[in-house]
């Protein structure tokens, strides 16, 4: 018990560090650093750190301090960590958020305290529509956009009917809605699975096969994507019905998916081989700094988030109390994104291109992702007119 008391005391002291004067830029970073999806969080952290390296560890001439917090992929924990960053650490920016439900739970805390929040991945439809805020920016997309691109591609391929499978949470519902909004053929089936606990998709795959659809579309981020592909191949459906994906195959899942992923197309706003200079530098330096790892779109979005923050702080010469000026600067998207063309809509969601990516064997016989075509240019989300901001 004495130990517990001592620990209690120590915690209170640890929490009670005096608030530093504004001679540094404080950034809170909320992502998943434990559990099976921690690889995503790690990639985001790696890319963010790399961006800071590229800026000489200084933003607008001030040293940067980043506090990383683990949301454990749980909305209530993410909310609690956001509160800690806002109230205890008094950060200037909060970045991160992989999961739509975690972001939605945390949003109010950041907005109420007028702390800038930059979503480096999650893009629930509410964020683009009625819940848009002057203090919230995205360096990713609105959830529907990527599958919309995939729907367009399926039209181009002349697919007549599709079977949709996705997880039953905010992003899953957005994704399937996205495909349906652009796909012109018939949707013969739609299945939602329990997220994140259901990992056996045998029942859904059997139904997809029985439906005789011409194509299957899925959205399974992280480890679930590995399992889905495994089971899709084992059931022999790969030879029967082609698969179209969004956020299911990326550089993190590919080493686990291996040959199973060969030839399975996906839509993405960033691919590692995009030919612009910033991207070449990002990818090359990432692979130098973290040998054996490859950056993902999660990382690219985090890298852009750091650049966005940098542009805002530089514009106000380090005086982070000038929130309006920072907001105005960020709306201009005055930085060179690793994905090429990038500008903001009225709701602070990017207007950008979406590319078709494919899995191929590269020169050294390794599996990698490759840009095949641009599916859609300057795509803007469908919810921007629900956002009251002009």
């Amino acid at each position: 018990m004495r130990t517990a008391f001592w620990l209690a005391g120590a915690t209170v002291l640890a929490l009670a560090q005096p608030v530093m004067a504004a001679d540094s830029i404080k950034i809170g970073f909320v992502s998943t650093f434990s559990g099976p999806t921690a690889v995503i969080g790690n990639d985001m952290r790696n890319s963010f750190e790399l961006a800071l390296d590229h800026m000489g560890r200084k933003i607008g001439g001030l040293p940067v301090e980043v506090i990383y917090e683990d949301d454990q992929q749980k909305p209530d924990v993410g909310k609690q960590k956001t509160e800690k960053l806002v109230q205890s650490d008094k950060v200037d920016f909060i970045v991160g958020y992989i999961w739509s439900n975690v972001l939605l739970a945390s949003l109010k805390t950041a907005v109420d305290s007028k702390t800038f929040l930059i979503s480096a991945n999650a893009g629930p439809s509410q964020l683009a529509g009625e819940l848009c805020s002057p203090y919230v920016f995205s360096t990713s997309w609105q959830n529907d956009q990527t599958p919309q691109a995939m729907g367009l591609y399926m039209n181009q391929k002349g697919v007549k009917s599709v079977f949709l499978i996705g997880p039953n949470y905010a992003a899953g519902k957005d994704m399937l809605a996205g495909v349906k909004s652009t796909f012109k053929g018939q949707v013969v089936g739609e299945e939602y699975t329990v997220w994140p606990s259901q990992l056996d998709f045998s029942a859904e795959l059997s139904k997809a096969r029985a439906s005789k659809a011409e194509a299957i579309f899925v959205f399974y981020p992280g480890a679930a994507g590995v399992q889905f592909l495994n089971q899709y191949v084992q059931a022999g459906i790969k030879q029967q019905i082609p698969l179209y994906t969004a956020f299911t195959i990326d550089e993190l899942s590919l080493p686990l998916q291996k040959e199973n992923a060969l030839g399975v197309p996906g839509a993405q706003e960033w691919v590692n081989d995009l030919p612009n200079e910033e991207n070449k530098r990002f990818v090359a330096d990432y692979r130098k700094k973290y040998p054996n790892l490859r950056p993902t779109f999660y990382g690219a979005q985090s890298y852009d988030a750091a650049q966005l923050i940098n542009s805002a702080v530089v514009a106000v010469k380090g005086d982070t109390s000038k929130k309006d000026a920072m907001k105005a600067e960020m709306e201009k998207a005055n930085f060179k994104s690793v994905r090429g063309p990038f500008k903001y809509g009225n709701n602070h969601i990017p207007i950008q291109n979406f590319y078709l990516q494919d899995v191929v064997k590269d020169a050294d016989g390794q599996l990698s992702l490759k840009t095949v075509a641009t599916i859609v240019k300057d795509s803007q989300d469908n919810f921007h007119d629900k956002c009251p901001m002009k």
Partner: protein, 305 residues
Amino acid sequence: MLLVVEQFLNGLQFGLLLFLLAAGLTLVFGIMDFVNLAHGSLYMMGAYFAATFVMWTGNFIIGVLLALGATLLLGIVLEFAALRHLYGRDHLDHVLATFGLILFFNDAVRLIWGPAGLTLPLPAWLTVPIAIMPGVYYPAYRLAIIVVALAVALMLYLVVMRTRVGMLIRAGASNREMIGALGVNIKLLYTLVFGLGAALAGLAGLMQAPILTVQIGMGENILILAFVIIVIGGIGSIRGAFLAAIFVGMIDTLGRAFLPDLLRQMLSSTAASTAAPALSSMLIYLLMAMVLVVRPEGLFPASRR
């Protein structure tokens, strides 16, 4: 019609897998009266061992056998070092202690193998789909799970019902004090049973591994299902666990497969898509509650006091 056959097989395969996990749990629970929440961690360790050994040896069968041995050993060590001191204590002490073990194993795995998870690749002869009926294809590996699990169930039945050790196990399940008083080396028996339970959990984990990935926390959700099964079946009863496992596997799979369509007939399409996954996950618990309300000690109570 073909779909129904396929879904039945899916349910059977899932149920048999659950049986492997539940069998060890019900043995340990029935004989030592020990609530082992860390059973799911042993399931996870089995999968991690298998993924590692298969990679080292490059041979699926050898790797799997090594992994089984390793899980058995881990179970014995665990029992010997910590858990045997908890027999006879309150159930809640077991819960707290083994909850601690779950935390420990999860982070130990993260430290050793990293957070990303592993894959257990299958040899080529197991990855092909097999035509079980004209037009009905089923993954060879899932068929293999069904065969192996049925074989293990048969073996367990023979061991428990036909051998001396099995007799002691049954005696232990119905009256612990008595077989101790009769001069049976109860400590050894306990260690043995715990090791067996661990190996069964490990087997379940490594068989599931090629279908799912090998990842941290993989044992926790399935553990609750295993508890549901042993409670429905009656604690300590292998036969009860077997029947309840198949039943739960079927209900879960068939519920997921056919409930959404059924709901769509009654509700709007969007409401049905949201409600169906929730409702089909609920079925198992509904089943357990109903069984317990009608039969407060499960379907096949092993001991009648």
